[in-house]
């Protein structure tokens, strides 16, 4: 068995885990800085609405409005016919 290869592997492990933690660690701070910057850049920027529920409700309303109008038109026309 090639001990040299094992040593290379161990070094690669140290190096690799170092880079992974280094890279993602730096990314933690960079992302925080990015968020701070984004917050400052856009106080006017709209915060994403958390619960999607109300959207569905309004969608339902729109559907209902469309159907209501269609039904009304249909009735009017069928009376006319």
């Amino acid at each position: 068995m090639d001990t040299n290869l094992l040593i290379q592997g161990a070094e690669l492990m140290l190096l690799g885990m170092g880079i992974v933690f280094g890279f993602l660690g730096v990314l933690v701070f960079t992302l925080r800085a990015m968020s701070a910057l984004a917050g400052r850049l856009s106080d006017e920027e709209s915060i994403e609405p958390a619960p999607p529920a109300p959207l569905n409700v309004s969608d339902h309303r729109r559907v209902v409005a469309v159907i209501t109008a269609a039904v009304a038109r249909y009735r009017a026309s069928s009376r006319a016919a």
Binding site: M1, D2, L5, L6, Q8, G9, A10, L12, M13, L15, G16, M17, I19, V20, F21, G22, F23, L24, G25, V26, L27, V28, F29, T30, L31, R32, M34, S35, L37, A38, G39, L41, S42, E45, S46, I47, E48, P49, A50
Partner: protein
């Protein structure tokens, strides 16, 4: 002609040429399809891989052979002689010589075979176009980027450390693969060990991409192991998670994540790309396509393209990629001791990665004075969104009102970035 025809036909029949190895691989292909359909084991990949495996082992047809392989199968003496001359070996040793040919002489052999009119089989063609070029895994990575919402990670960047810790599964498996060389019959090079180790990244396209660069011959086994274990995450992870945490820890309820602005979501892929180009250019193809896909998604101005990346492109590429991976499950390459070693190492990689993630989760639990549930560390292995769902399920067992799904999505997507970074390191050091 009739007799010749009949005889030619009999010799052209699969049943007259079917070896035990091919029969076994056809059963393996069938098993993968069974697992995909009945057990919902990553069916989008394992079904095409299984089918490709069966096709690759159809006797006589040579669907997974390259042009040189078809030259050898045809057996025309003058062509064999020409090939032997190029490879500088006697004709009798051509089989071995082709297997071990590399670099310029392999290219010359391929050129000769094509000039003589031999063509690669259908699956090999798919493989050359989609995987040898690296294009297919990269386009899938673009699709993953377009399909992934990184909000949870942006809201709580510290979960990146969980995604980092879980990559320990990769690097410990690298050592494991090299250590396995003490067993007679194993002789993994550093490049091969690196390719095997990436299974621990729990990310299919990254595994295919790295294996195609570092150890194309092992690609079949590595990809099958990666996708199979990703499907097995609900079985592999929970015992490890329970063994390493106390019930008190598992019951921790985490505070709700803050909302994330549209601008943050747009700047996120650009930030990740920037760090990648500054510190790890070797990961640029993977990270580049991932962040490109995510920018298509979040920019809000290119919906056509975002939807194309999320649907048409990723679907078409998945079909071709799956068949191409399957083409590497040829009996004579797959049925070897090495494959068993790869399967064992892959399982170990998943276990170690999970454990490392949970242990880092415990560290964050202590440091945050109990604000972090250590279970979410298990999601750091990637396997999006399966691992996050497993965390949620194990969390619910401990506390019926504890929904950890959103909190686990942070480390889960961090794991994707983490394994792309690990792949970049391996490419930079080993792949040069």
């Amino acid at each position: 002609m009739f007799e010749q025809g009949l005889e030619a036909l009999w010799h052209s029949m699969g049943i007259a040429n079917l070896g035990w190895g091919q029969l076994l691989m056809i059963l393996v292909g069938g098993l993968l399809i069974f697992l995909a359909i009945r057990k919902s084991f990553e069916p989008l990949l394992l079904l095409p891989i299984g089918f490709g495996c069966i096709l690759a082992n159809v006797p006589v047809a040579g669907l997974a052979e390259d042009a040189v392989g078809h030259l050898l199968m045809a057996g025309d003496p003058s062509h064999l002689a020409a090939l032997a001359e190029i490879l500088n070996v006697p004709v009798t040793q051509l089989g071995d010589a082709v297997k071990h040919a590399s670099g310029a002489s392999l290219v010359a052999a391929q050129t000769l075979a094509r000039d003589l009119g031999y063509e690669p089989g259908m699956l090999q063609l798919f493989y050359e176009v989609s995987i040898s070029t690296g294009v297919a895994p990269l386009l899938i990575f673009m699709g993953v980027g377009a399909l992934t919402d990184f909000s949870a990670l942006i809201a709580k960047p510290s979960t990146l450390l969980l995604g980092a810790a879980a990559q320990f599964g990769i690097f410990s498996t690298l050592i494991g693969a090299l250590a396995l060389n003490v067993v007679p019959g194993f002789d993994f090079t550093l490049a091969e060990a690196s390719a095997i180790a990436i299974i621990g990244g729990a990310d299919g396209p990254t595994a295919v991409f790295l294996a195609s660069k570092l150890a194309p011959d092992l690609l079949g086994a590595i990809a099958v192991a990666a996708y199979s274990y990703m499907a097995l995450v609900p079985i592999i992870q929970p015992p490890i998670m329970r063994a390493l945490t106390s019930k008190t820890e598992r019951q921790v309820v985490m505070s709700q994540l803050r909302p994330v602005s549209k601008l943050e979501k747009i700047l996120f892929p650009l930030t990740v790309l920037l760090l990648c180009l500054l510190f790890l250019p070797s990961a640029a193809p993977l990270i580049g396509m991932l962040t490109f896909g995510n920018l298509l998604r979040e920019s809000g101005v290119v919906d056509r393209l975002s939807k194309a990346a999320q649907n048409e492109i990723i679907n078409a590429v998945t079909i071709i990629l799956g068949l191409s991976v399957g083409s590497k499950l040829q009996a004579d390459k797959f049925l070897s001791l090495e494959t068993l070693g790869i399967l064992a190492l892959g399982a170990a990689a998943f276990c170690i990665g999970t454990a490392a993630g949970v242990l880092m989760g415990k560290a964050m639990y202590r440091l945050s004075k109990g604000a972090v549930n250590p279970l979410i560390g298990a999601a750091g292995v990637s396997a999006v969104p399966m691992a996050a769902r497993v965390v949620n399920k194990v969390g619910l067992e401990a506390n019926h009102h504890n929904f950890l799904l959103m909190h686990a999505m942070g480390p889960n997507v961090a794991g994707v970035i983490g394994s792309a970074v690990a792949a970049g390191v391996l490419l930079a050091v080993v792949g040069g």
